[in-house]
Amino acid sequence: MNNAVETCTPDSRAKTKQLWQIDIWPEDGQPDRLAAELLSDAADLRLPESLRIAAARGFLIEGDVSHDQAEQIAKSLLVEPVVERFQLAAVGDEAINQSQADRPNLIYVLPLPGVTDPQAESAMGAMRNLGFDVSTVRTYRKFLVSELEQSDLQTLTAKLLSNDSIETAVSGSLKLDGLDLGTEYVFEKGIVSLSGLNSDQLLDISKKWQLSLSAVEMETIQAHFKTLDREPTDVELETVAQTWSEHCSHKTLAGRINYLDENGSRTFENMLKETIFSATMKIREDLGDDDWCVSVFRDNAGIVRFDDENNIAFKVETHNRPSALEPYGGANTGIGGVIRDTLGTGMGAKPICNTDVFCFADPNSAIEDLPPGVMHPRRIMKGVVSGVRDYGNRMGIPTVNGAVYFDRRYVGNPLVFCGNVGLLPKEKSFKEPQPNDLIVSIGGKTGRDGIHGATFSSAELTEDSDITSGGAVQIGNAITEKMLMDVMLIARDRELYTAVTDCGAGGYSSAVGEMGEEIGAEVWLDKVPLKYQGLSYTEIWISEAQERMVFSVPEENWPAFRDLCASESVDATVIGQFKPTGQLVLKYGDEVVSDVAMSFLHDGRPPVVREATYQPVAASELLNAPARSSAAEWTGDLKKILGSLNVASKHWVIRQYDHEVQGGSVIKPLVGIQNDGPGDAAVVRPVLDSYRGVAVSCGMNPHYGDYDTWHMATSAIDEALRNCVAVGADPSKIAVLDNFCWGYTDRPETLGSLVRAALACHDLSIEMQTPFISGKDSLHNEFSYTNADGQREVISIPATLLISAMGQVDDVRKCVTMDLKAAGNLIYQIGQTFDHLAGSHWSSVTGATGGAVPTVDGGLAKRIFRAVHAAIGNGLIRSCHDLSEGGLATAIAEMAFSGGLGAEVSIDQIEVAGVSDADLVRTRLFSESNTRFVVEVTPDQQAAFEAQFSDLPLAFLGKVTEAPTLIIASGDETVIDAPIDQLKNAWQSPLDWN
């Protein structure tokens, strides 16, 4: 493009450019959905019930556009016929700034300059396509609000109508001169003087520049440049900070750790490598020729074998801090980012399904109980869910699995885990950029988006974070990524490039730095297409603008690559070359602004050395457990568990996700006769003319971690595996991922609890022959604030390990679901029950504390999983549900109401060791011991089924009944007695939001 230079003078532009405002309102009689949604959220903020709002959406259009043309644009493009009306005026015209007598307050909300505005981008493209001479478009929202106290109006504006990390609110008439962004950039090379500075002064520089580098790291940089006999440039310092950031290099967990627990001490040179990675290496070695792992812990996602033609890749990422400040944008770019991870794996995998797991504080929290500076958890949850929904659905990737976990300690640090599975041809599993390949960037343009995201994600959040960290928050544009994906998969199959990676944290600095690690690279920063003028070379280099990917393209393939992108309107630009120098050279025009050795970037970081200690919680009996003597009391407990937020139905979330796009849906997230029961794992067929399936599930138990993070970790693995096995996945071919989200790991006891979990992962992984293939951590998840008494308080999240499992099903036609199928069928419990009530849901709803936390017997688990899988494969099981939160009673209740059938069972045959008779009922009903299932078997297959489990713990429970009531007996006594619709209602109502 040669015509990008603006040739008009400001004066001549002013004469032709008009700035129009188009308000679009619901037509009379049509619902005002935006206002209704706001009003329903206003109650959480204690705003008066008399509040009334009218809401419009709108467009600002700047260009050589007459009034008639603007009207034509409104009618032909912007306003929906039948259901909407509009008002058009020049910006600033008082006619369009009138409020109403009963709604005297007028408020406009606009995206901050430079924040991605996908609607405006699309609208502008469409207007130009229709031949209108439009130069800029922006969207806005407009509100007319009833009489309010000034403080309430402020609360409404700041907490509901707008989010100041991405938007600006204007009270009264909108007055703007123009929409143009950016200023001319004047090149100036920045040098940072480090020589002679002491460690405090170096640390000051690290803080001032938001580098998140330690004093030792700064000293290493100082020493390195001293050997080069020069000072670093600003962009060299930034590049090192990005490459060495916790986010990009995992320096804490992959660093040196001295660990001490009750079994003694151990020193790690590289903790992750010596625990989780090494377990996978051991498994692969043991499997020998049967090794089904392909690429682990090296690429953007882990890859395993799938069928004769294809492999599958899996990755789960966290996007916690951005989601705390701007839940919609944070989650949006979280899912967008992990999709680019699988796209950037090998030569590119086609995304086939998403999994999303969230942790929030109670959405019903009273505003008075929240620390200052946090967003209301309901608003966070709604924002996160819609962020994932809008991105995943637009990408055409089914979101098939997930979980939502609630604990008050997530109040300042909500967790957002986004995962993606991709399918790729076997021979496309590895990549290698070649010397002299061109560095090509495709997709989105570069702006100031998310500068310092990588270093910000390694820092603690405070009550001021929403003011100081705004630059790190972004909004995604899914269609840009979808277009990118469409052309890249064609380019992959036409073999037009030699390597690809995504631009994630650190932007080009990470992407090019990683790809060119073995070769060297020269990047021409002035060639990078920008969203607006004025970015410095450093900003271009570290911007985290979304929807960009970097390819290495052999020079001879560039014309074909470029033409392919152009044919689908995707921007592609050569931004440099992988020159075989071993150096990372950055140029702006003819000026060299960086020239550092790749080896210093990737191997120069001084090791981080940390202390870690772990002290297990002293064993205790179950304390404060209330006595129970009647069916009414036990049934009441069951209903409370079903209605507790962690167990309760998540249909409000699930049904907003397209879980069937791509046409391969086999086991949906909601199952049963009314499509509303909680499935254990989702199954999809990624290849439509084959019946081979992929199962996706997860496991997470932060409450067990309060007792022992070892057992928390093994329980999470067991839960993820048994969910997969319950639907029919082959337990010998399940790959898992770890996501460690922890508090402040510079504290030895916090890091110790993580190391302990990693050690547990190592041991159980090997015992179960279940390899970890990838993972990601997010540390320092703490929120600090000053309380009403002026004291500094810190809220640390509970130790949270998410295990995500990807299983495989040879023939999906053998899969089973968890809903009861037919009256007269037999019900069994498989697995061993112990008095495991520590951290359980029964303890949580009754206030009991202490006790024993669930443990895993890996040897037994392996045998049970194999037997369940064989029984499913042999068609002996009609329904199968894993026992997890809330134990047996909860599992049977869910199976019954999902199937629309009752059950009459007795718990007498369940063997429990070491429990007094008085406590037997409690343990049998609600213990959360691992590796257990409830299954339904037809009477004619009873013998074959029992034979399959002859040497395994199995208890006959009873029968499925036509009568829609769940009756559980202990001896002669009925302990649970409830109609299934009552149980279902208890389970569905807590999160049955409008």
Binding site: E80, P81, E121, I479, S879
Partner: protein, 254 residues
């Protein structure tokens, strides 16, 4: 039987193209995929085809409103092409986003002095919904619903609420058997599966000739028994209800 050619049109944000093509192939058609840019550049690409299909997705992000931008591209660049295609007794199918586009271009229900006779707008809930729905088919005019009377298919959309401009529009469509697919009740329940708030429970509409058909539910998502949400509970035929729509289109040219 002649094997008809289907042109599946892709645009930025189209995302149901592959499985829709698979469904057409399963029904016996030959499928070609083309990007909207290609069709605008060479409209003759369509001349080999007997069936034009606009699959589901979020064309241009559904920014502004669902299907709106692609509809405006059709109107400004492809209007004659589409009209000629239709006049040649060929078939046009719009699924979900395709339906939204067809209705907003006026190809499906022609614009009058008052403007477009109907639109598809936001679900009453204001949110995207993925659910399975029971449907009643009126096969008297719509070529795609020949011999069908009921179906069970999933919907997955945020803007699927059918709103006609007036009572008169609605009764004309009813009289012409153009409200070819409506949400119905199932499993003995009295509750109609109208989750988006559509007027008169409308789920799909055809033009007066029955050769242009748009529907919100996704027939391509129920081609195989294992896609049915209750397949683990029921004895079901191997083929799903949705295949009939594709097969009717193919057999129309037999």
């Amino acid at each position: 039987m002649t094997q008809p050619n289907v042109l599946i049109l892709r645009a930025p944000g189209t995302n149901c193209d592959q499985e829709t093509g698979f469904a057409f192939e399963k029904a016996g058609a030959k499928v070609a995929y083309h990007h909207i840019n290609q069709l605008i550049e060479s409209p003759s690409l369509i001349s080999d085809s007997q069936i034009l299909c606009l699959p589901g997705g979020f064309s241009y992000g559904d920014d502004i409103a669902a299907g709106r931008i692609l509809a405006s591209q059709f109107q400004s660049k492809l209007s004659d092409v589409i009209h000629d295609f239709h006049s040649a007794s060929k078939l046009t199918l719009g699924i979900c986003n395709g339906f939204q586009i067809l209705i907003k271009t006026g190809f499906l229900l022609a614009e009058t002095d008052e403007g477009l006779p109907a639109t598809l707008t936001w679900n009453d809930s204001g949110r995207f919904i993925d659910r399975w729905v029971h449907l009643k088919a009126d096969s008297s005019v719509c070529a795609f619903l020949k011999d069908s009377d009921s179906m069970y298919l999933p919907i997955a959309h945020a803007e699927g609420k059918f709103v006609p401009r007036s009572e008169a529009v609605l009764s004309d469509l009813q009289a012409g058997h153009q409200l070819a697919l409506t949400y119905a009740s199932g499993n003995g329940s009295a509750q109609v599966d109208n989750f988006n708030g559509s007027t008169a429970d409308v789920a799909g509409v055809c033009d007066p000739t029955g050769r242009i058909f748009g529907l919100m539910p996704h027939p391509e998502r129920f081609i195989d028994r294992t896609q049915h949400p209750h397949w683990t509970r029921l004895e079901l035929p191997e083929e799903g209800d949705g295949l009939a729509i594709f097969r009717n289109a193919v057999e129309y040219f037999a």
